[in-house]
Symmetry: C2
Subunit: 190 residues, 2 copies
Amino acid sequence: MSASQKPAPATNGVALEQLFATVDAVKATPSIARFTFRIRNQWDTGSRNCSTVSTFTGANQQLSHPKPFTLEADEPGILLGQDLAANPVEHLLHALASCLTTSMVYHAAARGIAIEQIESAFEGDLDLHGFLDLDREVRKGYQRIRVRFKIRADVPDEKLQEIVQLGTGHSPVFDSLVNGVPVSVAVERL
Amino acid sequence: MSASQKPAPATNGVALEQLFATVDAVKATPSIARFTFRIRNQWDTGSRNCSTVSTFTGANQQLSHPKPFTLEADEPGILLGQDLAANPVEHLLHALASCLTTSMVYHAAARGIAIEQIESAFEGDLDLHGFLDLDREVRKGYQRIRVRFKIRADVPDEKLQEIVQLGTGHSPVFDSLVNGVPVSVAVERL
C-alpha cells in the first residue's frame, strides 16, 4: 500500500485529521461554523405524518444529503394511532440518544480516548393530564428523562464518568432539550 | 352494513369516540394517564448509531409496538460522517414537527374543526463554535428554530392561527423543547 492509500488515522471511527482541520478552518474563517438544518413535514391522516430531510446550510454553502431521508411518525393504538412508526416523543429520545453518543465519541476521539462499545437506554415520563387539558398544573411535555449509558473502554472507572460528560457537555440536542430553545411559529393558508 | 360494522365517526382521521372515551377514562382513573416511553441505542462507529423502539408503559400496563421500530443516525461528510441517515439535530426537528402536527390534528378534531391538508417546514440554527469549544459564549444547541405551517381548511383566516395554537399549546415535544426537561445521566461499565 502506498502512502497515499493509507487510511487516515481514526479513533472511534472519527477521522482525526479532518476533525482537527475543521477546528483550524473555523478559527481561520468563523462564518463556516454556522449551520442551518431543516426538514419538511407532510401530514397524512390522524397521527400519521412524515418528514423529508434533504438539504442543509453549512460552511457558507447549500449542501444536500446524497438522497433525501424519510422519517415517519404515528401513535400506538392506545393513543388512537395505527402504530406504523415510532411516535414523536420516542423520536425525541432517539434525537437525544444519538446526539449524546456521537458527541462523546467525537470528543473522546479528539482526546485520544478509545471506546470499544456504547449501549444506552433512555426513558421519559409523560402524564396525559397535560395533553388532555385535564389538569393545568401538569405540563404537556416530558416531566423527566432518565439516561443510562454502558461503555466498554480500557480506562479506569472515573474516566467512564468523564467520557459521558464529554457527551452531556457538548451535545447540541442535550443542550437544546435541557436548556430550551426559542421556537417561532408562522402559519399561512395552503 | 350492520350497525356494528359502521366505522366510528372520525374527524381528521381521529376516532372521536375513542378520544372522548380516553378523557372519561382518565377522569375516572387518573393513574392511567401516566406513560413512560423508552428507546435503546447502540453505537456502531463514528457518527453512526441506531435506536430500537419496542416497549412503553401506559394505562398501568406494559405495552409493545407490534414490531420494534429502528431509528438510525449518522452525520454528513462535512461533519465527518458517512451520511447514511439523518443526523441527531435533524431528528430533533422531526420530533417537533410530528408532535406539533399530531397535537393540532387531535385537538382540532375534538373541537369539530376539519383539516384537509397540513404541510410544514422547520429550520434550526447551530453555530459549531459551541460544539468545538471555540467560544464559551456560543451555546452547543440550537440557537433558534423557525416553523412555518401551511394549512388547508374551510375556516376563516383567524381560525388558522387558532389551529396552530392548538398544536403549540398541547404538543409534548414543543413544551419539552421550549421549556426544557430535566435529564439525569448514569454510566456503568459494559
